[in-house]
Amino acid sequence: MPKCMIDGKEVEFTAGENLVKVAKRAGVEIPVFCYHPGLSVVAQCRMCYVEVEKMPKLQTACSTMATEGMVVKTNSENVKKGRAGTMEFLLLNHPLDCPICDKAGECDLQDNSYGYGSAYMRGSEERRTYVDVNMGPVIQKNMNRCIHCTRCIRFGDEIAGIHEMVAIKRGNDIDITTIDGKTLQTEYAGNYSDICPTGSLTLKDFRFKKRAWMLKKTTTVCEGCSKGCNMEIQHEGDVIYRCVPLENLDVNRYWMCDEGRFNYQHTQDPTRIIEPKVKAEGGWKTISWEDGILGIKEEIDGQKPTFLVGSDLTQEELTHIKEYIALQHPGATIQHFGTPGLTSTQQDGALDQILRMKSKTSNLNGAEKLGIAPLMNDTIKADTVVVMSAGRAKLPKINAKRVIAVGVYLEGDASQFDMILPGLAFSEKDGTIVNHQGIEQKLKRAVLPRGKCKSLSEVLMLLTNKKARVGANP
């Protein structure tokens, strides 16, 4: 492999790699604004200046490919001066309203300004201001903060496949906006906020909810479809504030769709059922876990109810259910459900050119691997039905005398049920899911279960016990 020197360190590289990537491998961070590994290179922010031996002027590291024997300095006096100059230009018009900016704490402009800028501001001119257009329900625009890196324009054009952001006019008058001030059309709009290096494009959903540095971060996987995009749940005090995609070049690259990004909301919905409940005259009656478990045991002990399991459950949960049925209800039917009209991984496929898949549950592949048969119709007829799901699988029409549900349900879903034991959502449990490519990925608990929800495995254990002795909440 060819080698080059970066700040005195010898680094190997593959042909065609730019200096930002090579330097990163050598442990040298080069500051960037317009460069993004998932987008084309434009070299227009001029922040990534480096000094290359035998080249008369400073070079932009993002657009300079490493060559054999290249000697690069990223920290010389010249480079420091160049970067400080760039920072000064970029801050000429920036309002520096960090105290009320959602991006503060995770802002490239803030970090690079702190790291490479000058502590002294020479400019005394008036800063330009804009009137902002409404960009739809996902993104809040603030053009005053923009540094024209054009990442958003390139994201729309190259990744989302819709050229909806444009740069109108030039120089000091430039305006990064949508065509004719239209609202954003793409289903991937949340990424605009992730890639924006300033607070120009922020999430409306997250607006003024929490400072970025207060958030705890848990690495997990999205349960929105069979793609299994890697993501981070950002939470504090057992409340989820937002989800952001994590880089995984084999699965989702750097992106995620809005459906997955905002999917966490159903776990915090005020209508989510978080206590054991039984249908009573004129609505629902809250009962204790003991009564719930005993009630179910009475109904199904020694019987062969039909088990419907959502393909949104984890491998561990599905395995436990199978073991439980073999032990307690040998011969009972078990079928998985998830997306109406989609019963096998063969029918699953890409919903668009980017990430989204047809299967709206995360573990269809896993359920199939465990040998669970699919529910072929959208309606089911049986005597007693036990439904177990994590809230993402779309419920079929159930035509039965008694319907017992375990899992995550909103009040709106519950009309078909006679009894509900609340279970854990994807953000409240650990587990394994298998995506459409067959890659096994781990869900990780980010927040404690809400209310009196219990894990499915615990419910099964209680059902198996002779006596339903229910301990304290997890």
Partner: protein, 161 residues
């Protein structure tokens, strides 16, 4: 295909196409040609150009708004662009602009009610040796002062030019 642009536009484009390495390079000449035909560049025209060249209309608009010599609003019969860059500024272009605004009764960037004049500011015209300079439609008017600018406007008004 032709909706807003004439057959002539498309013949000119066909002739120009082999000159450039890619069809995308036709954006600037196409905009010039379209502006010559329509006087300015309405959104539908830019959309049609985008369709013809095979790039998104948004890109056409980005290009058109980048250059000051493409008109994104209708202009008067005579478009006066006074250069206000360094050389012309030092030689009194501010004074000229102020005079023209007063004389025509409009602000920079506006068009007179009779549609005869549009006044705008221009970046460097490359005529620094004969500053201050002005571009009137496709003609250069150089070494201006208040008197000669007054004469020039009067001549247009009387229909001499």
């Amino acid at each position: 295909m032709a909706k807003n642009l004439s057959e002539k536009f498309y013949t000119v484009m066909k002739k120009l196409e082999p000159r450039y390495p890619s069809k995308k390079a036709l954006i600037l000449p196409a905009l010039h040609q379209a502006q010559e035909e329509c006087g300015w560049l309405p959104a539908e025209v830019m959309e049609e150009i985008g369709e013809y060249i095979g790039v998104h209309p948004a890109q056409i608009r980005e290009v058109a708004s980048f250059y000051t010599m493409y008109n994104l609003k209708p202009v008067g019969k005579n478009h006066l662009r006074i250069c206000t860059n360094v050389a012309c500024c030092l030689r009194g272009s501010d004074e000229l602009m102020g005079f023209a605004e007063k004389k025509l009764g409009i602000k920079c960037g506006e068009t007179t009610a009779d549609g005869l004049f549009t006044l705008s500011e221009e970046e460097c015209l490359g005529a620094c040796t004969t500053a201050p300079a002005m571009m009137a439609n496709d003609d250069y008017v150089e070494s201006l002062d208040v008197n000669s600018l007054n004469d020039y406007i009067e001549k247009i008004k009387q229909g001499v030019k």
